[in-house]
């Protein structure tokens, strides 16, 4: 990479210093001068022309010289690029299963744009897609296009308006939260969805209300406001709102109330963590996004981003594999499983994975993990192979059991 950078710098310098245009200008000047000289003094014409010939020739030569220099720098840069990308062919596309599913990719992109808050781009994208689709349907169906156009559009109606609206809501709430320190829309949303949130075991509503309390305590909209008023307002807020939280969050509410007593000297009190937490807003915004997406059945981080990044991490391994397989002329034996393990960072592991310790295969719906009474787990196929229908010994402990006693588990 350093080499590429160096060569490129050299190349740029060469180009900046290039004299070829100047030389062309010099040629023009000398031609012009000769012309003027001949026009004014025709008797000297042949000498002037002879001189001109040599001067034009020499300037063309110097143009070529400078071009040659540029050319050699270009070549050097080429070589440095070749070196950088040596053994790194453009990823081949032999197994490109995705091109046939263009509309799914486009849908994923559209949703990615929406969830990133790029509403304008998403709108352009959707309208361009609709246009293209309409055109295609026209070409295909000819006269019957008009009736088809309507139906074609909502076949795989790329992120439905519903999703778009949801994300618009989410960004409105986040915007209010971050820019205006206004938690009320978020609190309203969490109240509207309190049942679903509670089933998930989420603390979102309480966290939001607590932050609102802290914010009011610090003086609300005008932070410089006198502390006593802020305290008064916060207390009123607590009386009004915290009632419903009491059964679940008694301890936390007590903490907040207890802090009141330390008010003049909050910095040195045990409560300073709650009241002076610089990342509190970030945290709440983050957990809000997460809850919001989860309720829609979506992951919190853009899947397109996670997948593309994981792909970039996986590519070197897959490419190596491809070259090895080409050299040995073998094919993948199992079609639905990759033949190598790809080292992804732990944050890219989402599901639990169970690899049967006997057969070394991952368990699937057809071959689920089975737990024996002793608590050890192996895959169903391994179990069948071990027991042959009668009592058998667990491969990992002295316990004996009957296959009937093994129980399917869900990871």
């Amino acid at each position: 990479m350093d080499l590429v950078q160096k060569e490129h710098e050299r190349l740029s310098k060469k180009i900046k210093a290039s004299q070829s245009i100047n030389n062309v200008q010099i040629t023009i000047d000398s031609l012009q001068a000769a012309r003027d000289a001949i026009a004014s003094d025709p008797s000297q014409a042949s000498i002037t022309l002879a001189k001109l010939q040599s001067s034009v020739k020499s300037s063309f030569d110097s143009i070529n010289d400078s071009l040659k220099e540029t050319h050699s720098s270009l070549n050097k840069y080429s070589k440095s690029l070749d070196k950088l990308f040596k053994d790194k062919p453009l990823p081949s596309t032999e197994h490109d299963a995705l091109s046939s599913q263009e509309h799914l990719i486009n849908r994923a992109i559209a949703m990615h744009l929406l969830r990133e808050g790029q509403f304008a781009v998403a709108a352009t994208f959707l309208s361009e897609m609709a246009k293209k689709k309409a055109m295609e349907s026209q070409q295909q169906a000819g006269s019957s296009a008009s009736e088809n156009a309507a139906t074609l559009l909502d076949i795989d109606e790329v992120p439905s308006n519903e999703v778009r609206k949801q994300f618009a809501t989410m960004y409105y709430i986040l915007h209010e939260m971050k820019e205006n320190n206004n938690l009320l829309p978020a609190i309203q949303w969490s109240r509207d969805n309190s049942e679903a949130l509670e089933a998930r075991g989420s603390n979102l509503e309480f966290e939001l209300c607590r932050l609102q309390f802290v914010w009011l305590f610090h003086g609300g909209p005008d932070r410089q406001g006198p502390i006593p008023t802020g305290r008064q307002v916060a207390l009123e807020y607590a009386r009004r709102e915290f009632q419903t939280f009491l059964p679940r969050y008694l301890r936390e509410v007590q903490q907040l109330m207890g802090a009141m007593a330390f008010c003049p000297n909050l910095q040195d009190s045990p409560y300073r963590v709650i009241f002076n937490n610089p990342s509190a807003w970030e945290d709440v915004a983050h957990s809000f996004t997460r809850e919001f997406c989860s309720l829609l059945g979506l992951s919190a981080d853009s899947p397109l981003y996670v997948a593309a990044t994981a792909g970039a991490i996986a590519l070197p391994t897959l490419l190596k594999l491809q070259t090895i397989m080409k050299a040995k002329r073998t094919e993948w034996t199992t079609e639905n499983e990759l033949p190598v393990e790809i080292p992804l960072p732990p944050s890219y592991l989402f599901h639990s994975i169970f690899v049967c310790p006997v057969s070394k295969e991952q368990t699937t719906d057809e071959n689920p993990p089975m737990m024996m009474p002793c608590g050890h787990v192996i895959a169903e196929e391994s179990l069948k192979r071990l027991c042959k229908g009668s009592r058998f010994k667990c491969p990992y402990c002295p316990n004996e059991s009957h296959p009937r006693e093994a129980k399917k588990v869900f990871l």
Partner: protein
């Protein structure tokens, strides 16, 4: 569950696989630019020097008037001025290309300063990369406005090649509509590079022109068509003899013939073929992969992330949207779920489960810590009980049973 350090290590050199076109493309453009300069200079040189000599000779042998000499010189001056203008525009372009390259090199260079995949900086870098890939995909699919808008909003216009793709799109579109002019002009501009290409785009375009002439069925056009064939098709007789013979045979068949191969030569979808051929040739010339990079990254990524649980009929205990203690797996998320259905899943040699796993009477396995934490958060569970976050069933704490996963 041990996260070995090697899996978060970032090897920048290896990581550049997807980024080769990023540097290659501007370089190809720069080379093309340079070639044009060279050609222009050469052409003028070949005109001006002999012309000067001739003028001089003519002057010496006295068969030229002064006016003629002056006129000859004027012609040379105007040609040189024209050359200068051309070179100036090319020089501007060249400078732009190189400043673009510099920015790209810098962008890749930042990656070399990041050593861990867990670094926040890597996250930012990867987001820029995703934007690049998305723009690339949009451009290739012809969603030009969206691509431009996205590039503008993300401020990555120097990292994507809007103009190149817009031009490519325009020409392929014109071919789709039965126009060869733009494509032939492009061929002319890239003549030298095309010689090395294995696709004979220009021949195919000329052949199509010929077919169009014959299609009219007008005898007068036939003569024209034959002249056209002599001029443009015949020179490549060594490589394309079958096609040329077929072209000759075409004269004997009307446009509604049912006989192959003439029927398919007349077929309108030959234009689509030409358009695709153009795009293929174009991408090859500029060292662009034939598939959008996003597809390559995604297909690798989907497989690397996919597990048998993702499309299982049973809800996974470890990653679902039903509980706050887990995050939704990207493959299970609506966006990619269908897309990943036919992909192979990742290979694992080790089990990966939460620490301290227990099993509930309904067969669901959870990390004990997570389950207890979760149950205490959910309001409606009495002390001494645990709630299954997936199914919502409530069990006694004593019913949790240790499970051993090897």
């Amino acid at each position: 569950m041990a996260a070995d350090l090697t899996s978060t290590k970032l090897n920048a050199e290896n990581h550049l696989l997807l980024d080769q076109p990023l540097l290659r493309l501007p370089h190809e453009l720069a080379r093309k630019n340079f070639k044009s300069v060279q050609r222009f200079v050469e052409r003028e040189r070949e005109y001006v020097l002999p012309a000067l000599k001739e003028t001089n000779n003519a002057l010496q042998s006295n068969d030229q008037t002064l006016d003629q000499t002056l006129a000859a010189l004027d012609a040379m001056i105007s040609r040189m001025q024209c050359l200068k203008r051309k070179m100036e525009t090319l020089h501007q372009e060249e400078k732009m290309i190189h400043s673009q390259s510099r920015k790209r090199i810098k962008h890749l260079e930042t990656l070399h300063q990041i050593h861990s995949l867990a670094d926040v900086k890597y996250d930012q870098w990867a987001r820029v990369r995703l934007d690049r890939l998305v723009v690339d995909h949009m451009l290739r699919s012809g969603y030009t406005d969206s691509a431009r808008q996205l590039a503008q909003e993300k401020d990555i216009e120097d990292l994507v090649d809007l103009n190149v793709f817009v031009q490519c799109q325009r020409i392929s579109e014109s071919l789709r509509h039965g126009e060869t002019k733009d494509a032939l002009q492009w061929c002319n501009e890239n003549k030298a590079a095309l010689k090395k290409s294995q696709h004979n785009l220009e021949f195919e375009l000329r052949l199509q022109q010929y077919i169009e002439m014959v299609r009219t069925g007008d005898k007068g056009r036939f003569v024209e068509a034959m002249a056209h064939a002599k001029r443009f098709l015949a020179p490549s007789i060594d490589l394309q003899s079958t096609e040329i013979h077929r072209a000759a045979g075409l004269l004997a068949f009307p446009r509604d013939t049912k006989a192959e191969p003439y029927k398919s030569m007349y077929a309108p979808n030959r234009w689509t073929y030409l358009s695709d051929l153009f795009v293929r040739t174009h991408h090859e010339l500029l060292s662009l992969p034939s598939q959008p990079l996003l597809h390559i990254a995604l297909s690798a990524g989907l497989s690397a992330l996919k597990t048998p649980s993702c499309h299982s009929a049973y809800t996974s205990s470890s990653s679902n949207s039903l509980s706050t203690t887990t995050s939704v797996c990207p493959i299970c998320s609506t966006e990619l779920h269908e897309l990943a259905r036919n992909m192979p899943y990742a290979h694992h040699t080790k089990s990966y489960v939460e620490s301290d796993p227990i099993v509930l009477p309904n067969g669901r396995v959870y990390g004990q810590q997570r389950l207890l934490e979760m149950s205490s958060k959910v309001g409606c569970v009495d002390a001494g009980k645990v709630k299954d976050p997936t199914t919502g069933e409530v069990f006694e704490k004593g019913e949790m049973k240790k499970v051993y996963i090897m």
